[in-house]
Symmetry: C3
Subunit: 393 residues, 3 copies
Amino acid sequence: MTLSRRVPIVVLLSCLFLCLFNSITYGQTGGEVDFNSIVDVQKYYRALHIMVMLLAGFGFLMAFLRGYGRSALTATFLLVSTAIPMYIFLKSVGFLGARVVDIDLLIMGEFAAASLLIAVGAVLGRLRMHQYIILGLVFIPFYMFSEWILLEGGLGLIPHGGLIDTGGSIVIHAFGALFGVAVAVSMTNKKEMGIELQADATSDRFSLLGSMLLWIFWPSFCAAIVPVEAIPSTVINVILALAGSTLATYVFSIFLRKKILAADIANAALAGGVAIGSTCDTASPGAAMLIGVIAGAISTFGFAIIQVKLQNKLKLIDTCGVSNLHGIPGILGGLSALVVLGNVDYSSQLLGIAIACVVAIVTGLISGKIILFFGTRFVPYQDSEEFLDTEED
Amino acid sequence: MTLSRRVPIVVLLSCLFLCLFNSITYGQTGGEVDFNSIVDVQKYYRALHIMVMLLAGFGFLMAFLRGYGRSALTATFLLVSTAIPMYIFLKSVGFLGARVVDIDLLIMGEFAAASLLIAVGAVLGRLRMHQYIILGLVFIPFYMFSEWILLEGGLGLIPHGGLIDTGGSIVIHAFGALFGVAVAVSMTNKKEMGIELQADATSDRFSLLGSMLLWIFWPSFCAAIVPVEAIPSTVINVILALAGSTLATYVFSIFLRKKILAADIANAALAGGVAIGSTCDTASPGAAMLIGVIAGAISTFGFAIIQVKLQNKLKLIDTCGVSNLHGIPGILGGLSALVVLGNVDYSSQLLGIAIACVVAIVTGLISGKIILFFGTRFVPYQDSEEFLDTEED
Amino acid sequence: MTLSRRVPIVVLLSCLFLCLFNSITYGQTGGEVDFNSIVDVQKYYRALHIMVMLLAGFGFLMAFLRGYGRSALTATFLLVSTAIPMYIFLKSVGFLGARVVDIDLLIMGEFAAASLLIAVGAVLGRLRMHQYIILGLVFIPFYMFSEWILLEGGLGLIPHGGLIDTGGSIVIHAFGALFGVAVAVSMTNKKEMGIELQADATSDRFSLLGSMLLWIFWPSFCAAIVPVEAIPSTVINVILALAGSTLATYVFSIFLRKKILAADIANAALAGGVAIGSTCDTASPGAAMLIGVIAGAISTFGFAIIQVKLQNKLKLIDTCGVSNLHGIPGILGGLSALVVLGNVDYSSQLLGIAIACVVAIVTGLISGKIILFFGTRFVPYQDSEEFLDTEED
């Protein structure tokens, strides 16, 4: 597909999008400064914290590949800029449940963008820029379909409130990870799978920066739409879970590899945040930290043992190891609600997890084939193919 | 000018400043925790978000020049530390409108510091550290004069509220950019203009970090002094405008250059934030995104086409391209109010834009000559001239 | 001490910790959204800002040593993950004053973690990862003992409220710095002291990033547990003090070294934040800036003159110079309360400073000997000994 055909597609889509968008307005505000306005502004701050995670957090965590730093950061910029407006637009025109444009809708759009960035982690370094945008355009409706079934009673499969998943262990993390792996399986040919992508020289500090930003702002992610009075216990639970997974990652990284791998710390330390998602507003402090320790241990095991085996035997590609960071810990989080909480609806919880997995895999396989329409390659991409090299100017 | 003369000047100015400062006290607070205290603390969080933009955002966006990383970051530190206290001091002693020292005054001081950092972007790499401080000392009173005319009815030229510019497209961005370009024209000799400054090897990731931080916290910049109930629609508008300019920058960077330039993404992606400033609290979602797309397209055109032509033909220097990122998109933002809004005072809006441009250019030309009193050079500076080289210790 | 013995110790401690932890629950909330819930959420945002300082701020400020970037960042992760849960656990089971688990307790735990990270700055590059964790486990009870005497009337030495130290100049900064130096003196042998640690090539920009994040979020650190109505004046005081120390650092860095040292800017520019701690909520704007200027000047003098002399003559090691950044400016801050404020209890203030110093030195010396049980070395560590080298994969 040549340049001359590629650019207009994006322009056309953007314009079409904008014209439709122009009919939307903001929900009417009361006009008076009152208690609810204050609560809304507080919610905006959590929305902003999530934006730190989306752009700087995910961006730098993914900027670890040799000759691929600029692409990862640019792709993050483009994916966020595609996903959030698209989600807001589709919801506000009534796709799978109509809503006015407000801070809640912005946060839901950010959740969708987070899930998309997780999915992209599985195929990072295998797509060109315009393919990332197309992946975003395809992903958002599929994600909304899953979210509609799991959280809004869509198709009547799961009653409203039946799935316990406040911080998105299932809806956001597990869905995104499985979708991404399915895209990778669907679009990657065998020849390409043999080629390993390599880390960059100064990458460790940049990816630890991304990891730290995710760690720091994660409590706001989980508490984003939690009622005001439940926020203190929610954020403390998330911090304890992250502390637990960080310590467990250190112990198991040494235990499994003899030496510490900085990439383990940067990734598996976050598994506690993924796993505490489902029960972040209801767990006790001790349970939260325990969930974090288990998630960190499993995730480190995934990075150190499973990922190597899968790449060698099944030739399955998952560039950033999202199945180990978001996939398995996400499902663990969803299951932990069965153990941690007293009065949970077992069948809805298990059915919800199963549906999320099935929808993610099916729609991911479809999306991978769609991506192939827009170009295929036998070797991973390099920044220099798409980016002007400023260093040689 | 020798070292022995330079240092005492700065010390003297600081001390003089401090003595005068000591007479100021804080506005009396009611002493009770009430609704307004809560609103003030929320305003402080937006002030903090703006500080992220000033130091880390502008600092790293400007830290892209080879052998110039430390200077850019140190200059940012010094400029912020000079501008904010000076603005607070001058206002609190009654210069062009007296005010008590409160969070609103802090935010106004941060706006002044933002405009100063924009102006410095035009002369980056051409000044020594003490000249940056002097530029700051000269800039602030000129900025306050412009602000007084445009927003506070100074000289009776524009009625209070006549200029629509909530997020500072005109007052902050266009003023700073034009002032900076005027300083560059006024102080740079022809020989120096021929020398191109070069980008640094690992610079792309650092400047994308700065860019991302600006992008993320921009909504708080525009909503800083907006009434509480208008904050949700304001921040969503800013995010949509930034998303629009990011997508447009990608499309036009490929279209105009064939390949993506990471510096385009880092810079022009922010043009939406600049242009939405004037109408951030009043535009509809669709209009906000459209303004962003147009601003991103024009800004990328500026970086890819105009900047190269100007440097070749007119030998005009603008190191960071602030005219393309803040100048043209800022004026576009001011003009967009004429189209987007219904009941705008056309003559005040156009007069305001014209006054901002004229005052910026005249005071910038004066300031450039003042800077020349404190040293002139025929080649760009290198960090190694002013900084101890830790790498060779 | 071999690997096989080291790992289980950590695992065992973690598990023991978790089991005890499981008995703790959250304080009951009223169940209704009310004014206090809003104030609590605002307090959480300041807790989050402090977390930015702890992980990204301290982490990157300390990541400046050649071959030591990954260790510093990983150690920061592990220390924060150890200190905060341990503090919350000990307080909630009634160690030196019982408390329910709420945001205030989280913030107090973050203060303890900050003091620990300051202490670690003195021995950075001299410990292995498991020794950092052990140092954290030892430090927290000692810190709580000091905090209990100084702020909570423990042992009846200082009446409650007798020590003026809102932002922790004494309790957090001076205590941590002196403890760290005492650990260094106690555990470092003479042979090791002769070996200098070197800065890394791209380190300046990373440590300036850490420094900027500390600078930006420092106002929230000082205002974390200040009453709502005093927050505006507190944060403005902190910003003015930081601006003062930044300008003073520039002037004195040139004055004392002829050229600017980027490490001076990254470190001493923060001394104003340390020194304003004691009086941040009560000083006038002018006094705040003056305290900042004096702190910046003394701190720069410490880095440029004292540190060099101490290393040559006394062979005392303080890797990051925490005595110059946190020790001396912290004590200066504590003393400044005697001058700045009217009705301060002179004897309690002086006694408090003396007790903090004595407890820090004694417990630090003890801790150094404890660390030696877990391994000793004659040369500084390198990342490559403990970390897998991804760059050579």
